[in-house]
């Protein structure tokens, strides 16, 4: 039974300029004890997806269709505010992108780590002990003293590890990591990824790992979900998607990844065209305007085609793959 099962999720925001259809028919699973990566360019709906799962959509946003089943029985789109809050931090924890801004600047690390345990029923001393133990696990030196220090006294890498410690302290079933390493430099990125991997095994939780860094996803994740303009265009295991991409967008995305360049090029390849305006979502395939394989049928909405076990692509040509690097 998957920890998280998103089915046919649609999210709309009402704005002054009309309704924005931010997520359209998003479906994927996060199986138990697995790390699932979500990749896509900025603006592809990754943040909306996180907010929808956490029940933290802005006031003008709503889930118009679909379900988010948590641990098989609870539909997060139907839970009330109180039930949702009880879930957040306890069973679904989150680590955000900006490590320096993620902690409250005027409270000490200890105060904040004790505060998030407010439902645990432990004594203050026990909460502090648990916090310092968790800091030790993420290799913060002198964890006891670190508790009484303020976020600004730590480096970016350290605050991100503190944020991870805070998130995993309650041993959640699901950890959502929203580009946790993007703001860090390469060495720290590797160290943080390894730490996440280690803790995930130790705690036995599932991880939904949001990133636009394909290399990190390939390294860390077992499954991957490719998003484009609020739709899941392709999903499957990392091996399936990265080695045998079936959606033209995935193919282009892989081609544009600097780490995957086989030969030196003067310019980094880019995908021509722009992400469509979601206020007027075009009929048919969302990627068609930028797609070099488009043909007549693309004016209709393509089906989710399964080409291998759990390998799904939203494209009419999913069963006729093109060789990587055939174009551009």
């Amino acid at each position: 039974m998957p920890v998280l099962s998103v089915t046919g999720l649609n999210v709309r925001f009402s704005t002054e300029d009309g309704s924005v259809h931010a997520l359209k028919d998003v479906s994927f699973d996060v199986p138990e004890r697995r790390i699932v990566g979500v990749v896509g360019e900025s603006g592809c709906g990754k943040s909306t997806l996180i907010n929808a799962i956490l029940g933290l959509l802005a006031k003008n946003g709503e889930v118009s269709k679909g379900s988010i089943l948590f641990q098989g029985d609870r539909d997060l789109t139907k839970l009330g505010a109180t039930e949702m809050r009880a879930l957040r931090g306890e069973e679904i924890a989150t680590v955000f992108q900006d490590p320096m801004g993620a902690l409250n600047p005027v409270f000490s690390v200890g105060q904040q780590m004790v505060n998030v345990q407010y439902r645990s029923g432990l004594s203050k001393a026990e909460k502090r002990k648990r916090a310092s133990e968790m800091l030790k696990q993420v290799r913060i030196p002198d964890a006891e003293a670190a508790l009484s220090r303020y976020p600004y006294e730590f480096s970016g890498g350290m605050t991100q590890r503190i944020a991870i410690a805070m998130a995993l302290m309650m041993e959640p079933a699901l950890l959502i990591a929203d580009e946790p390493t993007t703001a860090l430099d390469a060495t720290l990125e590797v160290a943080t990824i390894e730490l996440l991997q280690e803790l995930q095994v130790k705690i036995g939780c599932s991880v939904l790992f949001i990133s636009h860094h394909l290399g990190v996803v390939a390294e860390l994740c077992e499954d991957v979900v490719v998003m484009y303009a609020g739709e899941v265009v392709e999903r499957g295991t990392v091996r399936q998607v990265f080695n045998d991409p079936r959606h033209p967008y995935t193919v282009r995305l892989l081609e544009c990844d600097p780490a995957r360049q086989k030969k030196r090029m003067r310019h980094l390849p880019t995908i021509p065209g722009e992400i469509p305006d979601l206020r007027a979502r075009p009929e048919g395939c969302i990627f068609a305007p930028r797609c070099h394989r488009r043909f007549g049928a693309c004016a209709n909405t393509p089906p989710d085609m399964e080409t291998g076990t759990g390998h799904v692509a939203r494209c009419f040509l999913a069963d006729q793959p093109e060789p990587v690097g055939a174009q551009g």
Binding site: L54, L56, R85, A86, L87, R88, G89, E90, A93, T94, F96, Q97, D98, G101, A102, L103, N104, P105, V106, F107, N115, V116, Y118, R119, Y150, Y152, E153, A163, M166, A167
Partner: protein, 314 residues
């Protein structure tokens, strides 16, 4: 932090020195000489000469300024013309009443302004927000002495709920507190508006911050997030604002003291003007200016102490 405090203190000393120089130049520039202004038109030449000598006006100007300047720093602000008591003593007798009035004003403005600003930010765009917005502008715009007079008219003359004049019986804190309610409301009400606006604006900014998003993601109760996590940051600029506000409240306090016939520095200066007792006027102006500069300094240092981020920069 210590470095910062010393730097700010140095700047404060320079500013007060320049203020003293300006005040001195003003006295020196009076048409006619200060002695005749002080004694009025009926004074004899001999009386004027005696006063001039006593005030040191027969000496060269730089000597006069030096005497004035060094005297002021050592607490010698000259003597009152009528009773010949030291001006500093006279001013210091009245200062506690004015301080009480200003503290009362701050209490009103903080007690009403912070919750209103907070409420407006949380209910952004709603009717509560709109009403708080209009009221804030209104209480800022209307001069405090008009509010003081109308408050006196309504609560003391018509309704007779509160006493109209005086500071209450000495030694009876309860009575003194009751006498403080109306005047301090008049002093503080404008600042309810300033604080409400400031808290609303900084609250809206803080609520957008990513650590607030983190707090929500950790399932903390909404009330704790808004009133503890966000407000404790949003409140910081208010302290600086109050540092500036105290100067304006001092101005309002002058009017409040006169309207409500309360003792205090403002009443002292006002009475001194009417009796041409001008050493008292300059002395009181100097003391209040120094007081004001000092309070601004303290407000800055408090912000430093409250905000670990500011603290770390010095």
């Amino acid at each position: 932090m210590l470095n910062y405090a010393i730097k700010r203190l140095g700047l404060a000393v320079v500013i007060v020195s320049v203020a003293m120089f300006l005040l001195f130049s003003m006295i020196y520039l009076i048409p006619g000489d200060p002695a005749s202004v002080a004694l009025g038109p009926r004074a004899t030449e001999a009386m004027k000469a005696a006063l001039r000598e006593r005030m040191g006006l027969d000496q060269p100007i730089w000597v006069q300024f030096w005497n004035f300047y060094s005297g002021a720093w050592t607490g010698d602000l000259g003597t009152e013309i009528l009773s010949e008591r030291p001006v500093l003593t006279v001013v210091m007798e009245q200062l506690p009443y004015t301080v009480a009035l200003i503290v009362g004003g701050i209490s009103w403005s903080v007690a009403l302004g912070i919750p209103l600003g907070c409420l407006a930010a949380v209910r952004r765009g709603g009717w509560v927000d709109r009403i708080v917005g209009v009221l804030s502008v209104a209480v800022i715009a209307v001069p405090s002495f008009v509010i003081a007079i109308y408050a006196l008219l309504i609560f003391a003359v018509w309704l007779q709920w509160l006493p109209a004049i005086g500071a209450g019986e000495p030694g009876e804190p309860g009575d003194q507190l009751v006498h403080l309610i109306l005047p301090s409301l008049a002093v503080g009400i404008g600042w309810v508006g300033y604080i409400a606006r400031m808290v609303r604006a900084s609250m809206l900014e803080v609520l957008e911050a990513s650590h607030i998003r983190t707090a929500y993601a950790f399932g903390l109760p909404d009330n704790q997030i808004i009133y503890r996590y966000a407000l404790s940051i949003a409140i910081l600029p208010t302290v600086t604002l109050l540092g500036i506000g105290i100067g304006q409240m001092l101005s309002s306090a002058v009017f409040a003291e006169i309207v409500f016939s309360r003792p205090g520095v403002g009443k002292l200066v006002y009475d001194a003007i009417l009796t041409r007792n001008f050493p008292v006027v300059t002395g009181a102006v100097l003391v209040t200016t120094a007081f004001f500069v000092l309070l601004n300094l303290i407000a800055d240092l408090i912000v430093g102490a409250l905000d670990p981020r500011v603290r770390s920069n010095f």
